[in-house]
């Protein structure tokens, strides 16, 4: 939120070219799954820094709590018990926004300026512009954004864009006790990941590797995985994530010629939201989108 306009790379539903004068370093968060103990300090730090609180829920038969991402839980740990050749592994993955270089959420978003991609790679939601249509959810290949039950707007990890803007690391990185979370230039994070992968291979994880999926242009949140050949083991981390074809429609209409139409749609969506609620809006727009993509 606090990054200056000079750092804006892309804005949802906007055709005005972004400034390109400033040179900005591309950043990344590296989640080394193989050093993570699943302590949830990152979950706590995230809520503390962003001043949001999820519900005090119930136990649903697993360690995962809160059980899913939500308007207040922008990151959650997902625990998977995996057995292979008689050896048990407890795979613990911190889930949250991947900050794609090619962000499906931003492309799908009809609300001008509700989703911003900064030049450093952070994809941020500006909820004051959000109309709650839920298109970002459709656009996200990782199933990350969630509509808040409180205000009907979409929320997700900001990669602490406010902290990063002033030279600090994201709150989760600061809280991580084991160094499983690292933050820095994407280049440096890749080098660090290389070191970890060499170590993991020496310990018998021959398929250890970095998760930086090309289908979304690479991500600014990357994983070191023991089984990089099978990311789906880690609570269904997509093997080859791509932006849904439906999003292309939106990309199509957000051309200059369609700007007026876009405005109308956005306004319509807002009206619908106010008068009839979110679900209806979603269904109508999805049908329209499907139709257009078929034609």
């Amino acid at each position: 939120m606090a990054l200056q306009s000079l750092d804006i790379e892309r804005r949802s539903a906007t055709t005005t070219p972004s400034p390109s004068q400033r040179q900005t370093m591309e950043v990344a968060k590296l989640i080394d799954v193989t050093t993570c103990i699943g302590c949830k300090a990152c979950q706590v730090a995230c809520m503390e820094w962003n001043d949001v609180r999820d519900e005090i829920g119930t136990n649903v038969g697993v360690y995962d709590n809160p059980p899913d991402l939500s308007g207040a839980s922008w990151t959650v740990m997902r625990y998977t018990e995996h057995e292979e050749n008689g050896k048990l592994e407890w795979l613990i993955r911190k889930d949250g926004c991947m900050h794609c270089a090619d962000p499906g959420c931003l492309k799908a978003c009809p609300a001008p300026g509700a989703i911003i991609q900064y030049a450093n790679g952070i994809v941020d939601f500006h909820e004051e512009n959000c109309i709650g249509c839920g298109y970002c959810i459709t656009g996200c290949p990782f199933n990350v954004p969630r509509i808040s039950k409180k205000d009907g707007k979409a929320y997700k990890c900001t990669l602490c864009s406010d902290r990063v803007a002033v030279g600090m690391e994201p709150a989760c990185i600061k809280a991580c006790p084991t160094g499983a979370l690292q933050f820095g230039s994407k280049e440096r994070m890749k080098m660090y990941a290389e070191e970890r992968i060499v170590d993991l291979k020496s310990r018998g994880f021959e398929q250890a590797g970095l998760y930086d999926p090309p289908g979304v242009g690479g991500t600014h949140v990357m994983y070191v995985l023991h089984h990089a050949d099978r990311p789906e083991l880690y609570a269904k981390l997509p093997n080859n994530p791509r932006i849904s074809p439906m999003v292309k429609v939106w990309k199509g209409i957000s051309k200059p010629a369609a700007i007026a139409g876009l405005g109308l749609i956005a306004a319509g969506a807002l009206l619908h939201l106010v008068s009839r609620g979110r679900t209806v809006v979603l269904q109508e727009h999805e049908q329209a989108a499907k139709k257009e993509s078929e034609s």
């Binding site: 193989t34 050093t35 103990i37 809520m47 503390e48 999820d54 005090i56 136990n59 018990e81 407890w90």
Partner: protein
């Protein structure tokens, strides 16, 4: 810890056993990650459950709860029979060559001297064979059949891999894998570090589990080495400081001991504790006991403590029995204890058998609770439905709550597991009427003193004459208290080598405990802390993390007792000639004139190696004890005894002696032990990383992370019982029952033990009837009242339960 947190990074093999460092000590666990990342360390976890620590381990090995002595005894047998010990270390630095007295025997599970009705041992036959010169006899060739090493070989020869597997449930091949990995560190330049916590202490044989680990580490030559040691991870801030300051019923500050009621003679009390050397030329540091004791008495009673009145010895309490927590509640239960003060302690959750605790607390005349939180204990009289089903109308106990500040609301030092005293500064004022703990205690003390002054009493002297020289008497500051612990000169201290030189002027703070005197010229509240606040300032507040050796011994960061030493017994990191065993990890060494190095040497600084002073300076024989002589309640060698509630009902090593024969059990509690016919599953309690004991159930964020009580069972048991993940289940023992959600997991596997299948039921402890989490049961509703025979730490880790769908 013999070593310290940062030092774990120097290990080649890291073993987490009897603990779960990743979950209970996540911040310290970073050094395990570091050892793996940058020291290519192999990380092993041995636990009944595949924990979050195990999720990062190279190798995880299951073990039945309560059988760690059998496991490690098997390791000892492996190391001895496969000749995988560090010979020079064992011969020179342990009591392996010392000869055991002829009277010592071990037969059918019992050591010599057992008193069956009294459930205790006469330990007089457990000593060394003494020579005419007054020293213990020794055979440096290790040939004598009764030298400790040969006695040890004989004792552990019964712990074959088959026997180990039969008792522990660890498959034989997996057990042998552990032995092989540990054996790689018997060479001088490789070390194993062991990290343990309550998973070892909370057993009826807890102290002996830890000793078995010490035996393994001594055989491997891993004590005193960087990246080695026996490392206790202390669970509670500030539990290390509590023990150091002697807050257990039988201790005085600095591990000095209270006299018992038979010790009415001062000189006899002192003589018994002023140890005589058992081998020639040894430092025998406890020979300084009188200096520590007299300085403590001077600190407490100032000018009133004189040589003539034996430094107020008569004012010291004399113990009839030890007043550990289980005895306290037994006395309450019997109606023999009328009042109880509870400071920073939630015994209703932390002492076994909740039903007995409620019955005990209900008979008190008054209960005072000093705590920042409305603890379950302070509300024991409230009815909370099924979670605390009491009738308040029938409870007459007057409960007085004195709200205190928390650690962040006061200045002071906290002592971490690595013995570092780290000063911290007040971050906020305590809320509302809350006051700091010292202020509350001072208020109570001053009021009591006033009452004694006005009204007299049976024995007012100790209270009326207590030194109380604080600037504001009802608010002693952390700084004043810290200086009192450090100690000061009461008259000029003269240099023994040069009488014209004054080392410390009257009234000045001491530089360390080496300056303490037994003539009344020094006062010191805790000799171990002496050196922590000197004339140079507050050593505990130092924050220079420079690390010239690269070993992580940041000597200018905070203050580490004793004497700012970071690794205990570090003289043992050198060979007998004073050269480091491992040239790549040089900790201390003899430079030709003195001991020096990257740590404060743990030896007399000017004692040349040729003088033969050995590294274990607190022992009168100067060496590490493979054989504990008379120090342990249940025998000089650790022996496997079953938990008091055992799922197999026998001890495969000696069926006639099943459980610890020296453990104290109160009448009535014995009858409440359950048997495997009704309670077939091995229950064990533990902590989760999302919560801290019973504190964080009061905080919203932690409650969000782990909101509701659950128990964990394996898939096989769940299938047998028709339980699915998320079902509500009832877990019962012979003392009570709790209800909780079921977590069904692959991480708990059934084990084959003595021809039976043993299932574990895991019971995390953090819930109760007070707080913002979903209400739950205190887990100690289930646990048995019996503890370790030496420390009386309750057996929370091994008991019997049944489980069914609720």
């Amino acid at each position: 810890m013999t070593n310290h947190w940062v030092d774990i990074k120097n290990a080649n093999v890291v073993v987490v056993m009897g603990g779960n460092a990743a979950e209970a000590h996540p911040c310290g666990f970073k050094w395990v990650a570091e050892a793996k990342k940058h020291n290519n360390a192999t990380f092993i976890v041995i636990d009944p459950r595949f924990t979050r620590s195990a999720s990062l381990a190279d190798h995880y090995f299951p073990i039945r709860t309560g059988t760690d002595i059998a496991f490690l005894g098997g390791v000892i047998n492996y190391l001895l029979s496969n000749d995988k010990i560090q010979h020079e270390y064992v011969r020179n630095y342990t009591n392996a060559p010392l000869i055991v007295s002829e009277g010592f025997k071990f037969e059918d599970g019992l050591f010599s001297g057992y008193d069956e009705p009294g459930r205790k041992y006469d330990r007089s036959s457990w000593g060394y064979e003494m020579g005419a010169d007054g020293y213990a006899t020794v055979d440096m060739t290790l040939q004598h059949p009764r030298c400790v090493l040969n006695m040890m070989k004989q004792h552990y020869s019964r712990y074959t891999p088959e026997m180990v597997s039969n008792i522990t449930g660890t498959p034989k091949e997996e057990f042998l894998k552990v032995c092989e990995i540990l054996a790689t560190t018997s060479v001088p330049n490789r070390t194993t570090t062991f990290m343990y916590a309550l998973g070892w202490t909370q057993h009826s044989v807890g102290s002996q589990m830890i000793r078995t680990c010490a035996l393994v580490q001594l055989l491997l030559g891993n004590i005193g080495m960087p990246g080695g040691g026996v490392n206790a991870l202390r669970g509670h801030s500030n539990i290390q400081g509590l023990t150091d300051l002697g807050l257990l019923s039988n201790l005085l500050p600095g591990y000095l001991t209270l006299p018992n009621e038979k010790e009415s003679d001062y000189q006899a009390y002192i003589d018994k504790r002023t140890l005589k050397p058992l081998r020639p030329n040894q430092f025998n540091y406890w020979s300084n006991y009188p200096k520590f004791h007299v300085s403590l008495m001077k600190s407490w009673w100032g000018d009133m403590a004189t040589k003539e009145n034996n430094w107020c010895y008569d004012w010291l309490p004399k113990l009839d029995v030890e007043y550990d927590i289980m005895r306290q509640f037994e006395l309450m239960y019997q109606g023999k204890m009328n009042g109880y003060f509870c400071q920073g302690f939630n015994p209703l959750g932390s002492v076994p058998n909740k039903a007995k605790l409620i019955a005990g607390l209900s008979q008190l005349k008054y209960l005072v609770v000093i705590d920042p939180l409305a603890t379950d204990t302070s509300c024991f009289w409230e009815n909370h439905g099924e979670y605390n089903d009491v009738d308040p109308a029938k409870i007459m106990t007057e409960v007085i709550r004195l709200p205190s500040g928390c650690f962040a609301e006061e200045d002071g030092s906290l002592t971490n597991s690595g013995r570092w005293l780290q000063w911290h500064f007040k971050g906020a004022e305590p809320p509302g009427e809350a006051k700091g703990d010292a202020e509350i205690m001072a208020g109570i003390f001053l009021k009591l003193r006033e009452l004694y002054r006005k009204e007299g009493g049976a024995f007012p002297d100790a209270i009326l004459n207590m030194s109380w020289n604080y600037a504001i008497p009802h608010v002693p500051s952390a700084e004043e208290l810290a200086k009192e612990y450090n100690g000061k000169a009461l008259s000029d201290l003269i240099d023994a080598k040069d009488p014209t030189k004054v080392l410390v002027k009257k009234g000045q703070l001491l530089d360390g405990f080496a300056q303490l005197k037994d003539d009344g010229s020094t006062a010191c509240g805790c000799w171990l802390f002496s050196g922590s606040w000197t004339e140079k300032g507050n050593m505990m507040a130092r924050r220079d993390n420079s690390d010239p050796s690269g070993l992580g011994n940041t000597l200018n960061w905070a203050y580490s007792w004793p004497a700012n030493r970071r690794i205990l017994y570090n003289r043992a990191s050198c060979d007998p000639s004073g050269k480091p065993w491992d040239p790549n990890r040089k900790l201390v060494w003899w430079d030709g004139a003195k001991w020096t190095g990257a740590d404060v040497p743990d030896i007399k600084p000017d004692s040349a190696p040729s003088e033969g002073m050995n590294p274990f300076i607190m022992q009168p024989e100067g060496v590490g004890r493979l054989y504990a002589i008379d120090k342990m309640a249940e025998g000089p060698f650790p022996e496997h005894y079953e938990p008091f509630e055992t799922p197999i009902g026998t001890n495969p090593l000696h069926p006639k002696v099943v459980s610890n024969p020296a453990a104290r059990v109160f009448k009535g509690d014995m009858e409440q032990f359950g048997k495997a016919d009704k309670f077939p599953y091995a229950g064990t309690t533990y902590r989760l990383t999302e919560h801290f004991h019973f504190w964080t159930k009061h905080t919203e964020l932690a409650a969000i992370m782990q909101p509701q009580q659950f128990v964990e069972i394996g898939e096989e048991l769940a299938k047998e019982k028709g339980i699915k993940a998320g079902d509500m289940v009832k877990v019962s023992s012979n003392r009570g029952a709790i209800k909780a959600k079921a977590v069904v997991t692959k991480r708990i596997k059934p084990l084959q033990v003595d021809g039976k299948t043993v299932h574990h039921v895991g019971v995390p402890i953090h819930w109760g009837f007070k707080g913002v989490t979903k209400p739950g049961y205190l887990a100690n509703t289930l646990t048995p009242v019996v503890g370790d025979a030496n420390s009386q730490t309750p057996e929370f880790k091994s008991f019997l339960v049944n489980i069914e769908k609720a």
